[in-house]
């Protein structure tokens, strides 16, 4: 009896000793016994291919392909074939309303604020780690550039700034442009710009 208990206790200790407890950090992938359906031999999102020279399963579109949601024959705003068609525009081709500005705020805080700062003064967190001088939006030159130019900067990048075209979809880029405009306006505002009923405490400040 005693021996049985001792052997069982030993076995338990040995098992736990060898294979550990739940939730322990492991570098080995989970063991699979019947793998056939679990890992089917098909192409998946962002998978690795042994067939194509560049190793990607997801292929780039062939030259001249028109992206989904863009039409070659209907060049209305939001439906242009090529980003470059937008660069010449003077104003945002979408209706600028509260919804667009709210979307713009979210896009800006996600993609731009790390470098340009929440208010666009060019002092985002990344500058503390050696990011070289992102632009301050509150300069006369940047107030005067067209909306299409801001769109171009986002799409292609400029100078030290990388391209954000691959990350942000065109309508969201316009939303960001609208929000940059709102920031510039706010940075240059007078007390008269604020509606009478919303002024509140503001007037007391010098």
């Amino acid at each position: 009896m005693k021996y049985v208990l001792i052997i069982l206790a030993l076995l338990t200790v040995l098992t736990v000793g060898f294979v550990g407890l739940r939730g322990q950090t492991s570098r080995q992938p989970p063991v699979m016994v019947f793998n056939d359906l679990v890992d089917q031999p098909k192409y998946k999102n962002q998978g690795e291919s042994a067939f194509f020279a560049d190793g990607r399963q997801m292929r780039l579109p062939p030259a001249g392909a028109v992206a989904w949601g863009r039409t070659p024959d209907k060049p209305d705003p939001g439906n242009l074939i090529d980003d470059a068609d937008y660069y010449g525009l003077k104003v945002i081709p979408l209706p600028v309303d509260a919804a667009l500005l709210q979307r713009g705020q979210r896009v800006f805080n996600t993609y731009c604020a790390v470098c340009h700062g929440g208010f666009g003064t060019g002092n985002g967190v990344a500058t503390n780690y050696g990011m070289s001088a992102p632009a301050n939006y509150h300069t006369d030159r940047l107030r005067q550039v067209t909306d299409g130019y801001l769109y171009q900067v986002i799409t292609e990048g400029k100078g030290l700034m990388g391209a954000y075209g691959p990350s942000i979809k065109p309508p969201d880029r316009w939303a960001a442009v609208a929000y940059v405009r709102a920031l510039q306006r706010a940075g240059n505002a007078k007390i008269d710009d604020v509606p009478q009923n919303l002024r509140g405490e503001l007037e007391k400040q010098p």
Partner: protein
Amino acid sequence: MHDRRLVTEGIRVSRIFPKNSRQIAAALGLGVVLFGGLITAGVTYYFTPKYTRVGYTPYQPVPYSHRIHAGQLGLDCTYCHTNVFESPHANLPSPNVCMNCHDPAKGNIKGDSPLLAPIRDAFKTGRPVDWVKVHKVPDFAYFNHQIHVNRGVSCVSCHGRVDQMVEVRHEQPLSMSWCLDCHRNPEPNLRPNELVTKLDWDSAKDWKVSPLTQNTDSQEAFARKMVKVSALHPPTNCTTCHR
């Protein structure tokens, strides 16, 4: 005479079964029960995804740290996982996203770090970086990010505090019962859409403080409204996930 025979037979029987046979049988029975119990306990403990998957932390080709980028720098998850709100698959970023900050030509952050060499190579040659997949639902089951994150289920419910991880670690079992536990009772996991990528947000503490949620009474009331008014009913029939 009669009695003696009985006694001799009794002796013969006891030769086959030793005197302490009862104790032995009891010990054996107990042993089998104990052993069987331990085996069962071991199998339920070790042969389930809670043991086989949770804790999986593969080495990555680049020691990319979510704690620096998502935690310290405060980058939103969609800065890199751009499609998570629009697609079933949450994409990993292509090297040009990293190069926005780490490109030596732009004279930026740690442009010459040897740790970033695979990223610079990938950027130059167009060959993708060989990131190792951490979370994986078997191919016979269907999972969709878009539908979850747009309905107010935060990344933290399924991936843990990624913003505090130096290396991504598998935190949840991702088993079928785990999916169903939430599909049967999603309410505790719901929050407003804007807060889905705020992993440090805690509905118990922050609900009354955050300007986004102050106007609603409590997380429970908000969740009940989601279920009633926006008809949020995560399906539990088999064809939802096995299609």
